[in-house]
């Protein structure tokens, strides 16, 4: 067969227009990436400028904000009587988060060990989708579950009046359920990244499966697991709908998990709902809370991501 016409003509497209087009497209795609940076910048700028209206007010002092033990931004219409000490909100968030972590960390870690070390593929194929479904449940549904099932069960189990209808424990348990799939899948990833040779070495020395996973695999994957914990912690601190439904609306400064506990996110929701006049110091206090929330979660996520990166490199 003779050489086809297309190759005889040798009419190749000019590459210079192609190059220009390529440059344009790359610029467009780069623009998309720049948007992600703009979002971060936007969040920080928004929080700083808006919370300025709060921190600049005479009624607020930085010292009082951080160390105050009373928060009455919603309850006091009168600015003179309003107290802006973030202590109660932070204590509420801490109570809910600590309870959530007490649920999510051990359960998530053990489930992850089971999935990565012992589970047969049949059980994996069943358990992983279950965890994915739990991870996909809207948080407002878990909040409803907390007031429908968890809180009454707690009251029933404790035999009566110990728990308030809205309390930190039921919200904490629901947030824990929410964080469990996240802890589990991140820790499992970390443990699966541990080279098989390490496990073979351990079994070769006569380790039992328990000793192999607890003494060899978990320590080897430790930084990955710690990063999973940090990310889950940050998620729990920022969780909104569960606490808005189940943790109550009263800011209390205590360590008692049976009481109501308004959290930082819960306060923001209540303030938005309350139709407080835009521009008042009480209204802007929500931005003061938001910037605190952002700093806490951002720091934890950043630490978690950095540890995760380091861990990935060590087994790359």
């Amino acid at each position: 067969m003779s050489i086809p016409k297309a190759l005889q003509d040798r009419k190749f497209r000019s590459t210079s227009t192609g190059r220009l087009w390529e440059k344009l497209l790359v610029g467009l795609l780069a623009g998309c990436a720049v948007v992600t940076i703009l979002i971060t910048v936007g969040i920080i700028a928004m929080l700083v400028t808006q919370s300025w209206g709060f921190f600049a007010s005479d009624a607020v002092t930085l010292e009082g904000f951080f160390w105050g033990k009373e928060w009455t931004a919603l309850q006091s219409k009168d600015l003179d009587k309003a107290r802006f000490g973030i202590g109660p909100l932070v204590s509420g968030t801490l109570r809910v988060t600590v309870i959530a972590m007490m649920i999510a960390l051990p359960l998530g870690l053990v489930t992850a060990i089971y999935l990565s070390e012992f589970a047969s593929s049949r059980i994996r194929n069943f358990l992983k989708p279950t965890l994915e479904v739990i991870a996909g449940i809207p948080t407002v549904v878990l909040g409803y579950f907390a007031i429908l099932v968890i809180s009454p069960s707690l009251q029933f189990l404790s035999g009566g009046e110990l728990f308030d209808t809205f309390n930190a424990t039921s919200a904490g348990i629901a947030v824990g359920i929410l964080c469990l799939p996240m802890v589990c899948s991140l820790s499992e990833d970390a443990m699966r990244a541990v080279p098989r040779e390490l496990r073979e070495g351990a079994y070769g020395l006569g380790c039992t499966p328990f000793e192999c996973s607890v003494k060899v695999v978990v320590p080897a994957a430790l930084s990955g697991i710690i990063s999973a914990f940090l990310l889950a912690f940050s998620r729990a601190v920022g969780e909104t709908m569960v606490v808005a439904l189940a943790a109550g609306t009263l800011p209390t400064f205590s360590a008692d998990p049976t009481q109501q506990a308004q959290t930082m996110t819960g306060f923001i929701v209540e303030m938005i709902k309350s139709e407080n006049e835009y521009g008042t110091v009480q209204y802007f206090s929500l931005y003061g809370v938001a910037i605190t929330l952002f700093v806490i979660t951002f720091a934890m996520t950043l630490a978690g991501q950095l540890i995760r990166r380091r861990f990935k490199e060590s087994y790359a």
Binding site: M1, I3, P4, K5, A6, L7, Q8, D9, R10, K11, F12, R13, T15, G18, R19
Partner: protein, 285 residues
């Protein structure tokens, strides 16, 4: 990357695109004692990050012949191959210095249009890597990028390329079936068809048979032998029988340096250097 090349030495004939096609017949090839050098490499150094992969290398690759690069793993032969059509551009930390020219085209020049260069210098990889498309679309992929062709011309071109790559008879009834359904050897020949469909002048082959069974390897070697009438072929191989079977010139690399180069017969029968002799006799590598 490199300094602009000085004017070409008188020996190199600038390849006008049209000249490629009236191919030299078998008789003329036989009378000419070797062809003029086409790709010229001089004082060439290449690095990956801080690691120097190639050191002061000088080599001429003649036109319409098969040149094979042999040597143990990590000797830099694949690196050189991938610099010839600048595939290393996308490797982080890869850089090169020295002269690398094809005809009067300076390959390393940052102004050189990589896209046009890669059309002229096709490459076939170690593992067959057809796109997850139909056989026809695989071969038509390059022409659709580079040319404006009518449907019938494109069909002609695809058929011609597949015939050239000696795989037409096996696939002509299922041109629109997925390419991934072919056997490994057929896939590799399809990849060769895909590479020649854009009308390249040079074909680079990076261990094209190492992932194939012996029968397919033989088919591809025959094909390489046929193709050299129209293309300048550079082939990287681990397999010394392969180099001796299908190449005219051979270059032996060791630890980033070119140890010896010459006609395949002389390099295999009476190597000048000790290292070459050890390698071709199978003492290491």
């Amino acid at each position: 990357m490199s300094a602009k090349s000085s004017p070409e030495p008188a020996g190199a004939v600038p390849p006008s695109l049209g000249k490629l096609l009236p191919k030299p017949s078998a008789e003329t090839t036989a009378t000419i004692q070797g062809h003029e050098p086409y790709i010229r490499i001089a004082d060439f150094n290449a690095w990956y990050g801080d690691f120097q992969a190639l050191t002061s290398l000088t080599l001429d690759i003649p036109r319409y012949e098969v040149t094979s690069f042999i040597g143990p793993s990590g000797c830099g032969k694949s690196t050189l191959l991938k610099w010839i059509n600048r595939m290393n551009d996308v490797v982080p930390g890869a850089r090169a210095q020295g002269r690398l020219t094809m005809g009067d085209l300076d390959i390393l020049d940052t102004d050189t249009d990589v896209v046009g260069l890669r059309r002229k210098i096709g490459i076939v990889f170690q593992k067959p890597n057809p796109f997850p498309k139909s056989i026809f679309d695989n071969v038509a992929f390059g022409p659709r990028l580079h040319m404006k062709v009518s449907k019938s011309d494109l069909a002609d071109l695809v058929q011609w390329s597949l015939e050239k790559a000696a795989v037409w008879d096996e696939v002509k009834d299922r041109l629109h079936a997925p390419a991934l359904g072919l056997s490994g050897g057929q896939q590799q020949r399809l990849c060769i068809a895909r590479a020649i469909a854009v009308g390249p002048e040079v074909l680079l082959m990076d261990e094209p048979c190492s992932a194939l069974d012996p029968a397919s390897t033989l088919a591809i070697e025959d094909l390489i032998f046929e193709l050299r009438e129209q293309y300048t072929i550079v082939i990287v191989t681990h397999n010394m029988q392969q180099a001796s079977r299908c190449s005219d010139k051979t270059a032996f690399f060791y630890e980033g340096r070119l140890i010896e180069s010459g006609t395949t017969t002389s390099l295999f029968t009476k190597p000048e250097k000790k290292q070459t002799e050890d390698y071709v006799r199978g003492k290491f590598g």
